[in-house]
């Protein structure tokens, strides 16, 4: 088996919780309980990013909030258990911090159903299945 050799990592690639919210397990036969993936963080960083209120509002409607809650917990960050009735700027700023600024540099995404692990290396999630899993 050939090993993938990665070039020396740059400092700024990191998996965001925005991306995590959109990913599920694609393993052969894994059809139930395959979302959300559980985050097992190894190296996490906080990186300030420009707050874009319009984008946050637009993105909010696309997120699965329960997965935001569980992912935040895995990174020791607290968010409201439910989306508040009024989504004011402070709430959107919190959302921005959670989905944009918490960066998983390394670790893994794990399926609760089949236990398949998807490694995160140099901030890039490897969602490739092996040839037996397709």
């Amino acid at each position: 088996e050939r090993q993938q050799t990665l070039p020396r990592p740059l400092d700024s690639i990191h998996m965001k919780l925005l991306t995590h919210n959109l990913l599920m397990c694609n393993n052969k036969g894994c059809n139930m309980n395959n979302y959300p993936l559980h985050i097992r963080p190894v190296q996490v960083e906080r990186k300030e990013k420009q707050f874009n209120e319009a984008f946050m509002r637009h993105m909010l409607g696309k997120l699965e909030w329960s997965a935001i809650v569980s992912a935040s917990k895995a990174l020791n960050f607290v968010v409201p258990e439910e989306i508040p009735a009024e989504q004011d700027e402070p709430f959107l700023r919190t959302l921005h911090q959670v989905i944009n600024e918490l960066d998983v540099v390394s670790g893994a995404l794990v399926c609760s159903n089949c236990n398949r692990e998807y490694p995160i290396e140099n901030g890039i999630p490897n969602m490739l299945l092996s040839e037996e899993e397709v």
């Binding site: 993938q4 020396r8 991306t19 599920m24 420009q50 984008f55 490739l128 299945l129 092996s130």
Partner: protein, 456 residues
């Protein structure tokens, strides 16, 4: 009641005629506007024989025009149409008849200049003055003051003389009117490939990359995804218009590059880091995205065609012996790949788009074509409507089409899970066997050659 909209003349850049109208209409829709034009004139505009770079269009407001021009790559400028004629005498007569009041009142106390633009050739300063002298009878000259550097109004004298004409040939047509706005072509030079840190074998022409971003309606607040991100040209062009961008690829080496240069290097070089969400390793034939709720505003990509870049997906090749991979080596295992046929790439792409795009969201992609292309080759999906099909000719036989589709119907697993062949398109598609199309050579049969009789 329908308010009669004012008429304007759009002056398009010479390159990529078939992309002009689709880009314009995409931007009209983006800004919630409308536009009226003559269908025959639009056909001439799109003609690859470079028939004309001009189109008369009615718009409801100057604000819409300025918005369109703030983003357009195909437009040089848009002018209010004061007069059009086949001769200068006719033009002067028409304007004295229709626009006398504007000419006498608009410029009081204002500075203005005139600029002569000719399609098919450029004019020296003296030649421009010669042209302007043909308009000396316009009351325009009595008003305001002419100023070359700072001006309130710029009047365009737009000559359509056709291609490859000499200065002595008569004009085909001339348009006249005040400039509303120039286009946004300066963006092309900002992303000139020479200044890019990272070039891969699939790097794209920045002009077309930006046009594609306009077809995708990249804008602040939108989330855009390239499933075959490669060197990240589309991430850069979409970030240029304020979108948040994500990309994925099968092979880490195409995104990481060599020597530290990468997709990320490009985003950093052009200061788009705040608009870079993530890149992932994904096999496009097995997308790991949850589909319960649509999440993408646009998908934009240049899928692998199997000729230049190589099209692969994960799969087991036929081999007599293989060993299972130990679980702890899964991460480092470089999965085996099998061929990923172009029709399958397209089918998977459209299905993915139908599921993941929000309503009104757009799929923009390059489809390779040969002269054997016919419209029934196009991949189809009941959830997506075709709104753009622009041909870029690359060689005599080989070209590609920028296809744009809009999601108009929500994906329903019960209905769309298995589609009839006519719903999927790609019926005996020419792009199903591209290698043979590109590399096929006619067998040498002396009797069938048209020059057979010349062969001794």
């Amino acid at each position: 009641p329908h308010r009669k909209m004012k008429e304007y003349i759009c002056h398009f850049a010479q390159s990529h005629p078939s992309f002009r109208l689709p880009e314009l209409l995409s931007l009209v829709e983006l800004y919630g506007g409308e536009a009226e034009y003559d269908e025959e004139e639009a056909l001439a505009l799109a003609s690859k024989d470079d028939e004309t770079p001009f189109l008369r269009v009615r718009f409801p407001s100057e604000t819409l025009i300025k918005n369109i021009c703030s983003r357009s790559m195909t437009i040089y400028g848009i002018y209010e149409l004061w007069g059009v004629s086949d001769t200068y005498e006719g033009l002067v007569k028409q304007m004295i008849c229709d626009k006398e009041e504007e000419m006498r009142t608009m410029l009081i106390g204002k500075k203005w200049k005139m600029a002569v633009e000719a399609f098919g050739r450029s004019y020296s300063r003296q030649e421009q003055l010669d042209v302007m002298s043909k308009l000396k009878d316009l009351p325009l000259w009595e008003q305001g003051s002419v100023s070359m550097k700072e001006y309130d109004y710029l009047f365009g004298v737009l000559e359509d003389i056709g291609v490859r004409k000499s200065a002595t040939d008569p004009i085909k047509r001339v348009y006249f009117g005040p400039l509303i706005s120039y286009g946004h072509r300066e963006a092309i030079y900002r992303y000139n490939l020479r200044s890019r840190q990272f070039l891969g074998t699939t790097s794209m022409d920045p002009e077309l990359s930006l046009i594609a971003a306009n077809m995708a309606q990249a804008r602040p607040g939108s989330l855009i995804y390239d499933p075959f991100v490669g060197t990240g040209s589309f991430l850069v062009s979409c970030a240029h218009f304020g979108a948040m961008t994500m990309g994925a690829d099968l092979d880490i080496r195409t995104t990481q590059g060599t020597g530290g240069a990468s997709v990320l290097g490009n985003m950093r070089q052009y200061e788009f880091m705040d608009q870079f969400v993530d890149i992932l390793l994904i096999d496009a034939s097995r997308p790991p995205w949850r589909m319960a709720r649509p999440f993408l505003d646009s998908i934009i990509c240049d899928p692998p065609y199997g000729i230049r870049a190589g099209a692969r997906k994960i799969g087991k090749r036929e081999k007599p012996k293989w060993r299972p991979i130990p679980a702890d080596l899964n991460a480092a295992h470089f999965p085996q790949c099998v061929q990923y046929d172009v029709p399958d790439v397209m089918r998977d792409l459209l299905t993915f788009a139908a599921k993941s795009l929000v309503m009104g969201g757009r799929l923009v992609y390059w489809l390779p074509t040969t002269p054997e292309y016919k419209d029934s080759d196009l991949p189809l999906h009941p959830c997506l409507r075709l709104v753009g099909n622009s041909l870029q000719t690359l060689t005599l036989r080989w070209g590609r089409r920028l296809i744009t589709m809009v999601k108009v119907l929500e994906y329903d697993d019960k209905i769309h899970n298995s589609l009839a062949p006519e719903d999927e398109g790609q019926l005996t598609a020419a792009h199903g066997s591209l290698r043979s199309a590109v590399y096929w050579r006619p067998r040498r049969d002396p009797t069938s050659s048209p020059l057979a009789s010349d062969t001794p």
